[in-house]
């Protein structure tokens, strides 16, 4: 059985985070209603000038470049995820483990250099 008490800080953190974010959202709404400043109009509810329209058909076509960025992100995210067990077990794996990770990072670094040079990281 896992000792769940070690996760207590995370639970507390989650509760506080949820509480605070809820507070930030609902407190102004409540205050504005109480003070009588709550007078929604068409202009007030419209989206800001920049960014995507807030309410639109979700079938809006995105640029395929979003997808490329997401794929690259997944790959480097996985790479980062592999670093955690490596870092905590380095005393068990020794130099072989260290070199292994350096080779792995090297492989992906070459991929990164390739992506950069190709302009896959550039937006325009």
């Amino acid at each position: 059985m896992v000792d769940l008490t070690q996760y207590l800080p995370i639970l507390i953190f989650l509760v506080i985070a949820l509480g605070l974010s809820g507070l930030f959202v609902f407190l102004p709404m409540g205050v504005s209603r109480l003070t009588g400043a709550h007078k929604p109009s068409k202009d007030k509810l419209a989206e800001y000038e920049c960014g995507f329209p807030a309410f639109e058909d979700s079938r809006h076509q995105f640029d395929v470049r979003f997808y490329l960025v997401a794929i690259l992100f997944i790959i480097f995210d996985l790479e980062a995820a592999f670093l955690f067990p490596w870092a905590v077990s380095l005393d068990l794996t020794g130099w072989a483990g260290w070199i292994t990770m350096m080779v792995f990072l090297g492989e992906l670094l070459i991929g990164f250099a390739y992506a950069w040079k190709k302009g896959a990281l550039e937006w325009e």
């Binding site: 250099a113 390739y114 040079k117």
Partner: protein, 488 residues
């Protein structure tokens, strides 16, 4: 110390990975104009790997000395033999590609890099002695293959081929993984040797499921019936050099992998998988032969031809003997020469503007406009049909001989009967080329490299090939014997 020895055993794989990484960087900096140079370098790298592996095959190395990384990987003569075929077929695909893509300005320097990485994946597949190595090798090869299938990304058919291959390949990987997890569950190990030891005696139903799922997943990769449905579409849609690649190197890798898995990991349960393989073999032969008859696109026809040939190769596996395994290796060697040669001839058929000609009706009367090309293609077709003086006959002969000696006379008889049906469509192409009114479509000139390769492969499958039978048979026997060492 152990690690150093292991690294020595994977020398060809290390060379392939370093070469592909360096070439990737070169391709980013040098740009599209370096594609041809990178292809040439990639060919040389494959050649170097070939010469690293060749001595181990000739020596017939085997046993615990060539097992690397605590039993994850083996560099025995069997894997070596498969690797030699893979390097040769991959090299052929690299020679075919530049000219084909340059016409539409779609040659990219990543092509040879991806081909090298796919070859690396195949090396891992044939050397795998652990389910995890098997899976990583398979995925490395598949992932590169999906990209290669869709390489002409502005071409709708190529994109369709890529997506079809990807979706069905992912499904096959899922099935394979499920089978592998069941295997682990019922044997407690992913190592082939331990799995083999755990699967002795009566097999539980669950373990039976494991065997079935693993075989089904692998059958997808070799496009054996009933898992062949992706093959015609993918072969037709992919760029022709990529189709040539798919029809040769990955077939060798997946068949060798299937051999090792069934004879080694599931070797003690031969009765369990033999019926499955028997059915798959016969169904592939029949579907391949019948499906090809109505085709009007020559690449689709070649797809059915490859399904048909996989059926013949699997007959060798049904026997489960050293002789059968050796016959499979011989067949594979001849098969890749025939298939690569046929695709070379297909690539060399171009119309006036240099666009590829794929319709069978367009090659009518080719013997009068391009006699040399027609002769080569006709020899390939005769050889694929297994008509005696050509070398293709020898492959079928050794497989049937192994079947007869394993007391599978009925199977051999059905196989021979089906190969007669299969001969029909190969001969139809010869008839169209030699006896029909010239359609006068094929006019384009071809590269000297294509001609050279076509002549080499034609010479190999010509009756001259019989000079090699003793030598080829000897090496294949040695390689196949290493596969059975674990049984002893």
């Amino acid at each position: 110390m152990e690690l150093k020895q292991s690294l020595g055993l994977i020398a060809p794989e290390i060379l392939l990975s370093i070469a592909s990484l360096v070439l990737l960087l070169v391709s980013a900096w040098a740009g599209d104009k370096a594609s041809r140079a990178i292809s040439v370098v990639a060919c040389f790298v494959l050649g170097a790997c070939f010469f690293i592996v060749a001595p181990t095959v000739c020596a017939g190395v085997a046993g615990p000395d060539v097992v690397a990384f605590n039993g994850l990987f083996t560099a025995d003569a069997f894997s070596g033999f498969a690797k030699l075929l893979i390097f040769a077929a991959t090299g052929a695909a690299l020679v075919m590609a530049p000219k084909f893509f340059e016409r539409t300005n779609s040659m990219m320097p990543e092509f040879p890099v991806l081909i090298l990485l796919a070859a690396l994946g195949m090396c891992l597949m044939v050397s795998a002695t652990d389910l995890m190595t098997l899976y990583i090798g398979l995925e490395l090869n598949s992932l590169a293959s999906y990209v290669l299938a869709a390489f002409l990304r502005n071409d709708e058919r190529s994109a369709e081929a890529g997506i079809k291959y990807f979706v069905l390949g992912a499904l096959a990987s899922g099935i394979l993984l499920f089978g592998m997890s069941l295997t682990y569950g019922f044997t407690g190990s992913t190592d082939f040797g331990t799995v083999r030891a755990a699967l002795t005696g009566d097999m539980s139903t669950g373990a039976m499921f494991a065997v079935v799922f693993v075989l089904a997943g692998l059958a997808f990769k070799i496009s054996a019936v009933p898992f062949h449905m992706w093959t015609p579409d993918v072969y037709e849609g992919s760029p022709t050099p990529v189709t040539a690649f798919f029809a040769t190197a990955p077939k060798v890798a997946a068949v060798s992998l299937l051999m090792r898995v069934s004879l080694d990991a599931f070797g003690m349960q031969a009765d369990a998988w033999r019926q499955i393989v028997l059915f798959v073999a016969l169904a592939s032969i029949v579907v391949g032969a019948l499906g090809a008859i109505g085709q009007s696109n020559i690449k689709r026809l070649m797809a059915f031809s490859s399904i048909n040939n996989v059926g013949f190769i699997l007959i060798g596996l049904v026997t489960g003997t050293v002789q059968g395994a050796s016959a499979m290796l011989v067949y594979l060697a001849i098969y890749i020469a025939m298939t690569a040669g046929s695709f070379l001839a297909i690539i060399m058929m171009k119309d006036e503007a240099g666009a590829p000609v794929e319709k069978i009706s367009d090659i009518a009367g080719l013997s009068r406009t391009k006699p040399a090309l027609a002769l080569c293609l006709a020899m390939m077709m005769f050889s694929l049909a297994g008509i005696p003086p050509l070398f293709g006959f020898w492959g079928k002969f050794v497989v049937f001989q192994a079947a007869v000696e394993a007391n599978l006379v009925a199977l051999a008889a059905i196989g021979i009967a089906a190969s007669v049906i299969g001969a029909f469509y190969y001969l139809k192409i010869v008839k169209v080329m030699y006896f029909d009114e010239p359609a006068d479509v094929v006019k384009g000139q071809s590269d000297w490299a294509h001609w050279a390769l076509l002549i080499i492969s034609t010479a190999f499958i010509s009756p001259l090939g019989y000079l090699l039978t003793t030598w080829l048979g000897g090496i294949a026997d040695k390689a196949a014997a290493t596969l059975f060492l674990v049984a002893a």
